[in-house]
Symmetry: C2
Subunit: 178 residues, 2 copies
């Protein structure tokens, strides 16, 4: 799919999913898109775990249930490897994982699925540790997000966005707040 | 361009640029891609300033010269509005700006340009403030990155990446470090 079409189509799917399976081939294409994102100092800190079916998702969902994880036929867990990222201003874990997530949301959209950047459950350190343990990921990893992926159950929609001129200016910054 | 082709083609261009102008129309398409990225709680914190020629770029470049900013015919400065983002764990400025940057790097690639996620000059608070002042952006904004955009002067290349299996596993996390 043309990339500009994908930018238009992508939206945050906050509803449930149909049970239709997502092929492992498609999940691998989405993951491949994720790891093709740039990373700070090319450290490639992002690690992904593909959860290709309900059996794999259920124990992750049990820790922090959401309608997305309760119904999605597939998901991808997004972690970073703390051993390859220093602390301080040269730590690019958030940038790295965010660019990888955006690529995966776009790739999923291009393949006809919907997804969601689901991060808030893992702000809680205990839930993050519990979900990471379910995935068998060691303490040297950090779990940032789990992206449910599948066909939408019901119509989702793109949330309302500010107009272009309220966010973009030319030459100099202009505060065009509405 | 098909999005999967764009994922393959995008790379971080760390060399110079040819002087060929980038049309304002293309720059606006790239900016539009940037602001179409998702944002935490849909707060849409990202603000962009299109620098469409050398006159606009030169004073920004003077603060922190790089080969990219010294030669690029166009650039886009990426800021966030601190007044719409709370502090603490619900602050998504890095996620917001990173997703917007990734979309813009992809859009630039799709339109036949190269670009670079140039953030390190603005880790320095004084340089960040100086560059922000050049853009006429108030203290309520934070400048994160400036993306030089144009045709490459000489061949750039994608940096070497770890193989898929070293970064992605299925069902459970596997540490396949090389």
């Amino acid at each position: 799919m043309d990339i500009f079409k994908v930018f238009e189509k992508r939206y945050s799917h906050k509803e449930g999913f149909l049970p239709d399976a997502v092929s492992l081939e498609d999940l691998k294409r989405i993951a491949e898109a994720g790891i093709s994102a740039p990373s700070g100092v090319n450290r490639q800190s992002v690690r992904l775990v593909i959860l290709p079916n309900r059996d794999a998702i259920a124990p992750v969902c049990a820790i922090a249930p959401t309608i997305g994880l309760e119904t999605a036929p597939a998901a991808i867990a997004v972690l970073t490897d703390k051993t390859v990222t220093p602390s301080g201003e040269m730590n690019f874990e958030k940038e790295d994982y965010s660019a990888a997530v955006e690529n995966m949301l776009l790739a999923a959209t291009a393949l006809g699925y919907v997804s969601l950047w689901l991060d808030s459950p893992y702000f809680d350190a205990k839930k993050e540790a519990a979900a990471r343990a379910v995935l068998d990921a060691p303490e040297t990893m950090r779990l940032w997000a789990v992206l449910p992926i599948g066909k939408p159950d019901g119509a989702g929609s793109r949330r309302e966005k500010l107009p272009f001129d309220a966010r973009v200016s030319v030459d100099k910054f202009h505060l065009n707040r509405l």
